[in-house]
Symmetry: C2
Subunit: 401 residues, 2 copies
């Protein structure tokens, strides 16, 4: 028996149990062996669950059972999740997770343990929910040097921005609506402030550039400063405002950076059409050019789909470690994203004439009494900031591309 | 040495040699071993090539050299390509190809030989150029039952349709422009008539549904009947006309179908925004929902990128066959795509009143003296055809979704 233990019976954990059950034959065919959930570990009781006989509360049972070959960690956070992942790997079991916080912050360390114990630590579901992205990067784009990766990595903020764009809602109203529809949590800080997207872009950068990127290094700006008036000006010029995570490597590969911030995205870029809770991720390789991966970035069954694909992969490689990992990074291989040049969208309390005299060649998007929205030529953040000393800016966003 | 022989030094073959050379370190790191092109087989002479010492004309040299572990077949067609693929596999070498015609028509047989000889026959580059699609389907979506797959599979026709949509060009002028820009061949039949897309949807159906689908069974309609006036009516109602390959399985998996035809695609479907030579492929899984893969569907380096990823995969699995394949199919497991219900776009020499009296509830898109464009309610092709006996239709296209 190829046994699986699921830690944490929340949205994703229960989805994993459901997908393995519902698609049993398809999973067995793909893995070339039968895969069964042997235990579900949760501190809560689920007396009405059809899987109730699988529940246990003591992790030591899993640790000691040689029939458990894969542990699925869907607890979240870095406390118990870290401890149980470590113990599972040390016990010679592969671990599959959707926990982006743990992978982004302790992934490097856990991959080292997996390597020593000749087991696998797999986390396709940690970025883009069910969208295949990490495996395509490591396998299908293996012939490419990847210099840039960016995308819409958080469904909650994209849902809110889409509501603002399509219905002219304010940020506050769009957030309330997202909460009412179950697309935003009651405490939405992690999504709204870009923290979730930051963890995901770090994992993507780890894999694309081959070195650990610490979320603490990554400048992260959320969407709470986006206003309907900015959306209106952007729209009039053919842009949509989207929250992007973006990671860029120097051409020679010696240094890389990443950041999270709202961007103006031109309508002819497919990302501008990625709406609602959907995610879209663009990878730029030196042979392939740009490829985009699109789909549901969250949700019970999509995320479970990615977890179960990793379980199948672990089953096919049982006793044979897959190479996935990256080197230890340091501040020396990181550069400040302020150095990245781009055009900038600015809404400021100036006339168009003052905007022109301060920034030279600008594209005026519109204005009212006492304020003007415009797009500058391409420059780094430091040049921008020094020019902004003479101009009171209300909003400043990067323009993509 | 892990040696590669490239058969056919055309666009893709020369791209493969270039990518292996240019990204040597990255390829070696991904494969965990050095990969070198040892021979290039072509009947032509390339005296000015920097790789000229690698050229040979006799395939028997490759067959006999144990250092050649992978043969790259980029000859095309089913003559020499079939013969050399067969002999390579029988000689215990893995084969990697971008040859969609050979995979679609003889893939099942060649995979059987590969299985018997414990080597790999890999063909990621045969669909979607460099876009990762076959490996994500077989691996990342392994936990899903896939019931439908469709997409823009041919860059030439999409380039022509995009020119017609954006610039109001006629089909003939758009084709000439595509030829002038190198996006269409001088004999464009295989692209224009949907034959290329047919081969690709067959390969996708083979992998998604697990049974061979013969291109001869698949109804294939190209784009030569698309006119600017149809594009205009579609546009007014919020649709783009796109050539789609589409494969659908019955829910219980017992039968499947595929076809290629122009469709009206609603602008809120991301595929409607896939323009120019780009490809977009949507896979619908029972857990993941819809995912889309987007990128350059052709071109030297993108296609070579996919070929080299397969070479890396073959190198990592040297001596250990990957499971990829499908069962033998038959007409008994195929059903006529005419049974698939959809709404239909019709432009006919009737008044709106006659259209309504013939089809009942229709959406009128517009009309001029003596002709009306409208969209019907959902019905199969046979019902449609019997109603069309009383209406002289000028154009009939399916409406997607």
């Amino acid at each position: 028996m190829f046994g699986v233990a699921v830690l944490g019976y929340g949205v994703v954990g229960s989805g994993v149990v459901e997908v393995i059950d519902k698609n049993f034959d398809r999973v067995a065919q793909s893995a070339a062996r039968e895969i069964r959930v042997k235990y579900i570990v949760d501190l809560r009781d689920f007396p009405d669950s059809i899987y109730k006989e699988l529940f246990v509360k003591d992790f030591a049972i899993i640790e000691a059972d040689p029939e458990v070959r894969v542990v699925v960690e869907t607890i979240g956070g870095v406390g118990a999740a870290y401890e149980f992942t470590r113990r599972s790997l040390l016990a010679g079991k592969s671990v599959v997770t959707s926990n982006k916080e743990l992978v982004a912050t302790r992934g490097w360390e856990l991959l080292q343990i997996a390597k020593e114990k000749d087991v696998n630590y797999l986390f396709e579901a940690s970025v883009g929910g069910g969208i295949p992205i990490l495996r395509p990067i490591t396998q299908c784009l293996a012939a490419n040097r990847i210099n840039e990766i960016y995308g819409i990595l958080n469904g909650t903020t994209n849902y809110i921005l889409t509501s603002m764009i399509k219905h002219g809602a304010s940020f506050e109203d769009a957030l309330k609506q997202a909460q009412a529809n179950g697309y935003a949590e009651q405490n939405p800080t992690s999504d709204i402030e870009g923290i979730d997207a930051c963890r995901k872009i770090c994992i993507l950068a780890d894999l694309c550039f081959g070195r650990n990127m610490d979320p603490d290094w990554v400048k992260t700006v959320g969407i709470s400063a986006v206003t309907p008036v900015d959306i209106h000006y952007a729209d009039g010029a053919g842009y949509k405002i989207k929250l992007l995570g973006r990671a860029v490597s120097l051409q020679d590969g010696t240094k890389a950076t990443a950041y999270v911030a709202p961007h103006l995205v031109r309508e002819d870029n497919l990302l501008a059409s990625v709406d609602g809770v959907m995610n879209g991720i663009v990878v730029r390789g030196n042979a392939i050019g740009d490829v985009m991966f699109y789909g549901a970035g969250a949700g019970k069954l999509p995320t479970a789909s990615a977890v179960v694909a990793d379980i199948i992969d672990a089953a096919k490689h049982d006793g044979a470690r897959k190479y996935i990992g990256w080197d230890e990074g340091s501040r020396d291989t990181f550069f400040d994203s302020a150095l990245l040049e781009s055009r900038w969208y600015i809404r400021a309390q100036v006339t168009a004439a003052v905007a022109r005299s301060a920034f030279g060649d600008v594209q005026i998007l519109g204005g009212t009494d006492g304020e003007t929205a415009f797009i500058t030529s391409s420059m780094g953040k430091n040049t921008l900031d020094s020019t902004l000393e003479s101009v009171t800016a209300l909003t400043v966003f990067r323009v993509l591309g």
